[in-house]
């Protein structure tokens, strides 16, 4: 168990290497997460990190973190970012530029769309295994609801509900631009 003691614990891991990306989209970009499952010392710190790259006009799907605050630092490019709090109140709608930092509180929903030169960021989470819950895509909450619930919740037809659930097919978190029916 020597390698399990804090003295010999691994203290670093590269998250900028594209081959280590957890989510990759050829036209959208990539996201690499680093949590305590990959780097056990983060369990002591109760923190984790994420590195993201969005290509031109690609979207980081609307999502929230259910167990952590998130602090975003822009490493390159720019994006339009919107953050929504409880009671549906928009608390931020603006451009994020290189060198800026933005706090996204726990449970607040956020969406980012990269500008023309793309967008790169690193974000720090206040939980060693931060959970992101997307609103769009394969693992989204809308995909997890029966079509009838969506139809009645949003007063839409069955076809519209199907489109809401399945239009993004296999995509998750990183969305390619210009896909609209």
């Amino acid at each position: 168990g020597v390698e399990e003691t804090i003295c010999s614990m691994r203290l670093k891991q590269n998250i900028a290497n594209p081959t280590r990306a957890d989510i990759y989209s050829e036209k959208g970009g990539r996201i690499t997460t680093l949590n305590s499952q990959k780097l056990p010392i983060l369990n002591f710190l109760q923190m984790s990190a994420e590195r993201g790259v969005l290509y031109q006009n690609a979207l980081h799907a609307p999502h929230w973190h259910s167990n952590a605050h998130s602090v975003i630092y822009v490493t390159r490019g720019s994006c339009r970012c919107q953050i929504v709090g409880n009671q549906g109140r928009q608390v931020f709608d603006g451009q994020l530029n290189q060198g800026q930092m933005l706090v996204v509180p726990q449970n607040f929903a956020v969406v980012k769309q990269a500008g023309n030169e793309g967008f790169e960021w690193v974000s720090f989470k206040t939980n060693d295994n931060a959970m992101a819950i997307p609103l769009v895509g394969k693992t989204s909450v809308l995909r997890a609801m029966p079509v009838d619930v969506l139809m009645n919740a949003y007063q839409i037809s069955r076809e519209e509900a199907q489109r809401l659930k399945y239009n993004r097919q296999e995509e998750t978190m990183v969305l390619t631009p210009g896909s609209r029916s």
């Binding site: 167990n67 919107q82 009671q87 519209e160 896909s179």
Partner: protein, 262 residues
């Protein structure tokens, strides 16, 4: 586990039984809130809520910033807890069999979703913080559920205020008789009660939503529910249909029965 928010102030000299002090009415039910600023609830670090859902009423999906236990006081229905990271695994074997047989699907052949749980009087639902939840009353009597939110839990890294995040619907708070009595007191405390409660899509730009979901701007507007006057509990005409085990059949028995066909 309660050290995170700091020790609460518990200067209680008398303890009183508490009634809800705020009532929000919707098309198919009522949500009642106890005053979370009451010193007794503040001391315990909890916030209680009661839902009364009429037959065929659907409590629209929402999540809160704290873990909660929900007790079903009366009635029966179905409940969906959307757990992050879990794929939409719930598709019936019956559906697959029908597909193989080439029959038409009333449910829509493509629909899959996460597991739906039948609930009835006496059940406790345990819901982690940030997990989206909906509830539907499929009985003949009102479905009454009491929910206690542990706002002082470590899972809540915000302040101790209970915050609701609606995924659908919108709600203009309506004042009721006993609320009116409380309102003056709360206004003195500088609190604003009559804030419209919109869903989180309402805070996003329509164009961004349309692009993210890959739908028209018209559908994106419907997601925002701006002109939706039904509130957070809505009537489902003709009843809610969803893929789930047939009623009266124990889920474990059913799994056992179909195991060999897997």
């Amino acid at each position: 586990s309660r050290h995170y928010q700091g020790q609460s102030q518990c200067r209680i000299e008398n303890i009183n039984a508490q009634e809800p002090n705020r009532r929000v009415e919707s098309e198919a039910g009522v949500v009642e809130f106890w005053d979370q600023n009451n010193e007794q609830f503040e001391c315990a670090g909890v916030a209680p809520t009661r839902y009364i859902i009429q037959p065929n009423g659907l409590l629209l999906p929402f999540f809160v910033n704290a873990p909660r236990l929900v007790y079903i006081v009366q009635g029966r229905g179905m409940s969906g807890a959307l757990i992050p990271g879990c794929p939409e695994t719930f598709h019936s074997i019956r559906q697959s069999a029908q597909l193989r047989a080439g029959r038409s699907q009333q449910q829509g052949a493509r629909d899959q979703h996460q597991k739906i749980r039948s609930i009835r009087q006496g059940d406790i639902l345990a819901l982690p913080a940030g997990v989206t939840h909906w509830l539907y009353n499929e009985g003949e009597t009102p479905l009454v559920a009491v929910s206690l939110h542990d706002t002082s839990s470590n899972a809540n890294q915000l302040d101790r205020n209970l915050r609701r995040f609606q995924l659908a619907g919108s709600q203009q708070t309506q004042t009721t008789s006993y609320q009116q009595r409380q309102q003056q007191r709360q206004q003195v405390r500088g609190q604003q009660q009559d804030i419209p409660e919109n869903n989180i899509f309402n805070g996003f730009n329509v164009e961004t939503l349309a692009e993210a979901f890959g739908v028209s701007t018209e559908t994106a507007r419907k997601l925002q529910g701006q002109n939706d006057q039904r509130g957070n509990i809505v009537f489902v005409e003709g009843g809610l249909r969803a893929i789930r085990p047939q009623q009266g059949e124990d889920e474990e028995e059913r799994e056992q029965r179909y195991r060999t066909a897997n």
